[in-house]
């Protein structure tokens, strides 16, 4: 057995012999360049410090995200342990939390993503969706003693309310509604019975610059009065089983241009304790061709170059929390087939007092139609008043409504006069389900008065 004595010189010679001269050249090159690199490093010392600082900050952010994720997991674990019967609040277009519900899981998960959004608001992550969906629906049973009508169970609107925070300033908002039954434009039935149809009721790209200036492009609910922009297509939000006659949708025989396609600007007006707000809108307005079987909302094509304009002002005074008082003015030019053009002006005023346990809504609207070449203006006044008080889960309510249109009215001659009271009771079976029972008594000009009864189960999910 031979013992080999370690010698660096011998090792170097072997290395040179074994690996060739090129390795030696590289090694020598490295040795020569090392001092240069050290000099360069010294020159970049400040840059390194900055890099370290940035890395430390990034580590802190990552730690924060880890802590939040751990918190989320802990919440989920607690939820499972508690075996709660309440569903967790979805990441829907609602508050990130549902009261008395289990600790948030779905709502909390996106928070780290939210941070990213804020830090780099314009970066689009293709691997995730920003879409959130909240649903509203209702199922009804209604009956009336009006001739020709039968009592029936009916499916109300199934409303998918969709939002997406595109960036810090932009947001998408939409309402996709599935509804059954025939359409009814100006009392002209269209479509088939018992069939479902889909309507995109709202379709908006919103831009929020600040509290005083916000823009929305697309299809919106016209800011005429209060009710139209307060409840949209959710029956669950409404105290009663349905909208006032004055604010019925276009495809349910309504007389107002509830929807519009165009541009809407809104915001606060610097006014101190008065709490003034404005809404200014310009859009296609409502179609007026008669007989009308087409969609009255001009989603794609306007029947004329004249655009409908609407200006609304309202105040929410600080001194009386819950009070809102306002008015609006709308103007459009309609072109019914075979008739002179008609100037349409809609004036509306409202005084609303809404607290969590009490509401008192009052609105009055005047629709004015002035045909070209005629000095006569057709006025259609309407109003409703509604009052409700909550006692625990129960909320009794009362509403009186009135519309009076002329029989010679050029745009909606079949509306006539209709008025009457409604009484009802809303019972909130849970935070998301409401049962309503409503009695209506309707007095009309040309038909016999009739009674109606509606039982409704409204819900959000």
């Amino acid at each position: 057995m031979k013992f080999r004595i370690f010698s660096p010189l011998r090792l170097l010679a072997q290395t040179v012999h074994g690996m060739g001269k090129r390795v030696l050249i590289v090694a020598l090159g490295m040795a020569v360049s090392a001092p240069c690199l050290r000099a360069q490093n010294a020159a970049e010392a400040n840059t390194d410090k900055q890099t370290i600082q940035m890395l430390l900050q990034r580590i802190e952010r990552l730690e924060s995200r880890v802590a939040q994720l751990e918190g989320t997991n802990a919440s989920a674990a607690r939820t499972e342990a508690a075996m709660t019967v309440h569903p967790p609040a979805g990441p829907a277009a609602g508050p990130a939390t549902t009261p008395q519900a289990a600790p948030q899981t779905a709502a909390q998960t996106p928070e780290p993503e939210q941070e990213s959004e804020h830090l780099e608001p314009e970066r689009m992550d293709m691997s995730k969706t920003l879409l959130r969906i909240r649903g509203f629906g209702d199922v009804d049973f209604h009956g009336t003693d009006q001739r020709g009508n039968t009592n029936a169970f009916s499916l109300g609107q199934l409303n998918l309310f969709v939002t997406s925070d595109i960036s810090e300033k932009f947001k998408f908002l939409g309402e996709i509604v599935f509804e059954s039954g025939p359409d009814n434009f100006y009392n002209v039935p269209g479509g088939r019975r018992n069939e479902f149809a889909v309507d995109v009721e709202r379709y908006l790209l919103q831009y929020s610059y600040n509290d005083y200036f916000n823009l929305a492009f697309g299809r919106y609910h016209t800011a005429i009065g209060f009710y139209n922009t307060a409840y949209h297509h959710s029956t669950w939000f409404q105290t009663t089983t349905g909208r006032p006659l004055l604010f019925q949708f276009e495809d349910s025989g309504g007389i107002l241009p509830i929807h519009n396609v165009g541009l809407s600007a809104s915001g606060r007006i610097p006014s101190g304790p008065l709490g003034l707000h404005y809404v200014a809108e310009i859009g296609n307005g409502r179609a007026s061709r008669s007989p009308l079987t087409d969609e009255p909302v001009q989603n794609e094509v306007d029947e004329n170059n004249y655009k409908a304009v609407n200006l609304a002002l309202f105040a929410r005074p600080e001194a009386i929390r819950g009070l809102q008082v306002g008015f609006s003015g709308y103007h459009d030019r309609l072109m019914p087939l075979g008739q002179p053009r008609v100037d349409e002006t809609i004036l509306a005023a409202h005084a609303v007092y809404m607290l969590p346990k009490f509401e008192w809504l009052n609105e009055v609207v005047l629709v004015r139609h002035g045909p070209d070449g005629s000095s006569h203006v057709f006025n259609t006044p309407g109003f409703y008043t509604q009052i409700a008080k909550r006692f625990g889960s129960y909320q009794p309510y009362f509403r009186y409504q009135y519309i009076n249109g002329s029989d010679r009215e050029p745009i909606f001659p079949d509306v006539g006069r209709i008025e009457g009271p409604s009484f009802g009771m809303r019972y909130d079976a849970s935070e998301s389900v409401a049962l309503k029972l409503q009695y209506d008594y309707n007095i009309a000009r040309h038909i016999q008065s009739y009674n109606g009864l509606t039982l409704q189960l409204g819900f959000t999910f």
Partner: protein
């Protein structure tokens, strides 16, 4: 019909009076002079936020989503703690003057109408709230005064610092039970 409307108006006015009077009384939080500093709730914002002082009324508009931007143009992101947490109870009672159901419904309706731009974020721990506020420039949240550290900025309310005896946001002992 006129009689009916007159009657309804009178009923409405009477109920209105009944509703207004207790509402105004609810707004004044009772100062507990003997409360120690760690029983106060600190309102915290991001260090880059220029705001130093806020009135209780303004704070209410922020916590109800009625105000969406800070003066520096940043979008406000509200951070709430889990339902049932004493700090959250105090905020709902003293600032929002709502219960959980009403608060939830308020925000849902605000989002639905488009008046509220962003829903509040919910976090379960003061550490989480602090870190979220540290990371998000427009964030506002609340923690116990004893949970505050240097990563966030505490703002004064009605001119009072969190240690002042007149500081209006107190986290009362009964809330923690």
């Amino acid at each position: 019909m006129r009689r009916l409307l007159a009657l309804l108006t009178m009923v409405g006015a009477a109920m209105l009076l009944l509703e207004v009077s207790p509402g105004t009384a609810k707004g004044d939080p009772s100062p507990a002079a003997q409360a120690s500093a760690d029983q106060n709730l600190a309102i915290i914002v991001n260090q880059t936020n220029t705001i130093d002082d806020i009135t209780l009324k303004e704070l209410r508009t922020v916590f109800l989503g009625e105000r969406s931007h800070w003066p520096n143009g940043r979008r406000i992101t509200l951070v709430m703690m889990d339902p049932g947490v004493p700090e959250r109870k105090a905020i709902l009672r003293d600032i929002c003057r709502m219960n959980e159901t009403e608060f939830s419904r308020h925000f849902l309706q605000g989002l639905f109408t488009g008046e509220v731009f962003v829903s509040p974020k919910t976090l379960s721990s003061p550490t989480g709230v602090r870190k979220f506020v540290f990371n998000v420039p427009g964030a506002i949240g609340y923690v116990r005064a004893s949970d505050v550290d240097g990563t966030v900025k505490v703002i004064r309310i009605n001119g009072h610092g969190v240690d002042d005896p007149e500081y209006p946001l107190r986290f009362e002992a009964r809330d923690s039970k």
